[in-house]
Amino acid sequence: MSENNPKPKLAIYWAASCGGCEISILAVNEKILDVAAAFDIVFWPCATDGKVHDVEKMPDGYIDVCLFNGSIRTSEQEYMAQLMRRKSKVLVAFGSCASEGCIPGLANMNTREEIFDTVYRDTPSTENPQGLRPQHKTEMPEGTLHLPLFYDTVRTLGQTVNVDYYLPGCPPEADKIWDAVGAILAGKLPPPGSVIGANTTVCDECKRTKTEKKIKAFKRTWEVIPDAETCLLEQGLICCGIATRAGCGALCPVVNSPCIGCHGGNEGVQDYGSRLMTALSSVIDSNDPDEIDAIIAKGIPDPVGQLYRFTLAASLLRRKKLPAQGNGAAAAATKAS
């Protein structure tokens, strides 16, 4: 087959994601036709017709590059991650969800039960008097029907299968995507496991005036109208640029909005939130423990949402403690089961 069609084979798949990554791929505008000319798109459920069993029938390693976006939340997604890994020579964790969990990863602050309670019972628009919940297995006269198993913890692609490269961003910028894919096909690549992106932080790309940072209070975006010249952090806004990988051109600070950290940690950073904690603590202008506590409690009411907005699933602790563990006492029991 490859003799008839020597174009490199490209697959694009999604798991627990919002679809923004697909849009960023299409955001290359008319160049998408060049993409179709340059690649044989063998599987892309969002944009082309294709069936999973077509992929299952491919020989292993048949696909040259697979861009996989989305984190792993269900058994079906894990199955597809394993399948795409097997069928692809190069598997790219595409975007923040696949790389570090992103917003779907924040579900790790809740248990599966809590999520189901919200979705199938508590939201004002839910009408579910019988308290129905999706079941993993349903017995029918014709046989057993299955829905994918909903996992307790959202995992990243890299925690599920081996990943060759990571493309950061929520979503990755269109121009960076094709630079990266081009580099992969040309074989001009960093060692496997690398992040294809800049090795510096957003602050380096931000043109604002930076002086010594000393702040007495963290402010929310609606509390101040920031001036366009001074560093946003110096104005009290929690700008995550100090800890976040560059590559976006400081898109948010340019328009007076603090960086939210969607490119994740810089090279060598194991735990993005820890880096942000270090940086933010250093700029608090107080040496009094009570005042420090008050500044942090008032300014950062939701520390995980603020510090790990895009990286909770990939962080060192990965999730909130499961309540079944209680006071630590039931932990041994959980492990044993």
């Binding site: 913890t153 040496n287 602790l317």
Partner: protein
Amino acid sequence: MTDQFEPKIVGFMCNWCSYRAADLAGTARIKYSPNVRIIRVMCSGRVDPTFVMKSFALGADGVMMAGCHPGECHYIEQNYKAMRRFSMIQHTLTALGIEPQRFRLVWASAAEGQQLAEAVDQFIEDVRKLGPLNWRANWAEHDDRLAALAEIVHEHQEALEVLP
């Protein structure tokens, strides 16, 4: 051997005060619990929150940070940064469901071997009351995961049988 739970504690102690206090406790033959695994750092300001997170992720039941008293830092003011980081880390750990009592900040000068030993003992007793943390149990895979993955393969095969 008793069945008493022995907490695993990681203690980050600064080179100039707290580590020397621990040293002094040793030379003065002051007895304190062996549960603490001391890691010497140059300054309490060197303790990256990553170290704390990693300690818990790798199985620590408690983490202690110890440094020079405020105003006495060998590096002038870095222990104030440690103080702020401590507050920020504890705030975050609490949100993640780790009891604030599992993470403690202690100031101990090089002369305070006795105080350090007492602080370590007290911390270990407090953590012992909380019980094991066993963080990785939170990552346990769903019991039905492997069966669910196998079912997908089976169902796909079944689906193919009805194709024209």
